[in-house]
């Protein structure tokens, strides 16, 4: 687990807006609504959803708490099926051979190859289990700060999409520009000065 492991990689967000009702209830209800399905879908190459911090493989929000001190803590789980290229090659070769034997021809057309590939991909997609990745989310609701324990671009993008879909609150990634815009006490005129700066040149 990222948060309690010995090293951490962290990206940060400013959460725009607040709930009208009780934050604890809104967060819990929306986590449940968008939790990762308990049973893996045979057909999806990728699925993402929320799961309790203490129970990444069983999304039971009734059993496990999401409140740790003044924070909400839960995990984003991403289940991804990836089919190794060599496995596709193997099944393709076997299916092509079968097709040629059946038809009595010594070649198969490009269209037939495409069909075989689609069939092989479908077959393997059903057979192969998804590999889960779990990323913790620590949310300081009152201060509108959120910490995602990963810096992987794909995970960040999935998180941003799912978070907005779940809570209808926009997560704004914190980097130099947004840090000044959302977390600094600079006046508007100081912000204007900062945003009109140009890269420094250190050479004489």
């Amino acid at each position: 687990m990222g948060l309690i492991s010995s090293t951490h990689s962290i990206s940060r967000y400013h959460i725009e807006g607040k709930f009208e009702g009780s934050a604890a209830e809104e967060v819990r209800n929306n986590l449940i609504a968008y939790s990762i399905p308990k049973l893996e879908s045979e057909f999806d190459a990728l699925s993402a959803g929320w799961t309790p911090f203490e129970s990444p493989y069983n999304p039971d929000f009734d059993k496990f708490s999401i409140q740790f001190g003044t924070f909400f803590l839960f995990s984003l789980r991403v289940d991804k099926k990836s089919i190794p290229v060599r496995l596709v090659q193997k099944y393709m070769a076997l299916e092509i051979e079968k097709k040629m034997e059946k038809s009595g021809r010594e070649f198969i057309s490009k269209n037939e190859k495409t069909e075989i590939k689609e069939m092989v991909m479908d077959l393997l997609m059903h057979k192969i289990p998804a590999v889960p990745s779990v990323y913790e989310v620590l949310w300081n609701y009152e201060e509108q700060n959120l910490y995602l324990f990963t810096t992987q671009k794909a995970a960040n993008e999935l998180f941003e999409t799912l978070f907005f879909k779940s809570f209808k609150l926009k997560p704004i990634r914190l980097f130099p520009y947004t840090l000044v815009e959302t977390k600094s006490a600079f006046s508007n005129s100081d912000k204007d000065r900062i945003f009109s700066l140009a890269p420094l040149k250190y050479t004489r």
Binding site: M1, L3, I4, S6, T7, H8, S9, I10, S11, R12, F53, E54, F68, G69, F71, L73, L138, Y147, T151, I172, R173, L174, F175, P176, Y177, T178, L179, V180, E181, K183, S184, F186, D190, R193, I194, F195, L197, A198, P199, L200, K201, Y202, T203, R204
Partner: protein, 177 residues
Amino acid sequence: MLDIATAYNKYTFLGNDFLTWIWFSIETQTDFSALLGSKDVITLEIGNSIVLENKLGDKSKEKITIKGDEAGLEEGTTALKKGAWVTQINLNCKINEDEYKFTIKGESYNITGLKTPKTDLSKTGDEIEGLVLEKAFFCFRVFEIMDTLFLKYLDQRIADDWNHKGLQDIKNWIGSV
């Protein structure tokens, strides 16, 4: 507020310039506790890696990576003299007796490989909440320090005397190493 993707690309230099300033501040023995207005004794040192970039005309870029626990940083300062800027830096931060090690990237402000002080709390049972809160506190301390330094840097950067003082000091340091 600007579109996020546009702002990210347009102001990448702010983070990179900040990291160059951090390196300069470390090398010129800045009192970070005083700068941060902290009662804690806070020190920063360059850790085991630093990455710089330089434009080589058109769209090509030169990347200079220095790695190793006791690595000399001469190639880095030579690159600065040629117009390069720091894009990523590994730092050792000490707050009183607590040690933190991490890498920070200028453009994204992401923190990777963060090692926080050791904790005696266990990952199981009743102590899990305490462990989470302690770990969170450690992580927040690092962000608090880096954010405050970044905002202090911007304060200096928009000050009227920046060109005569701040920038000149960095140029003098680069020229002297």
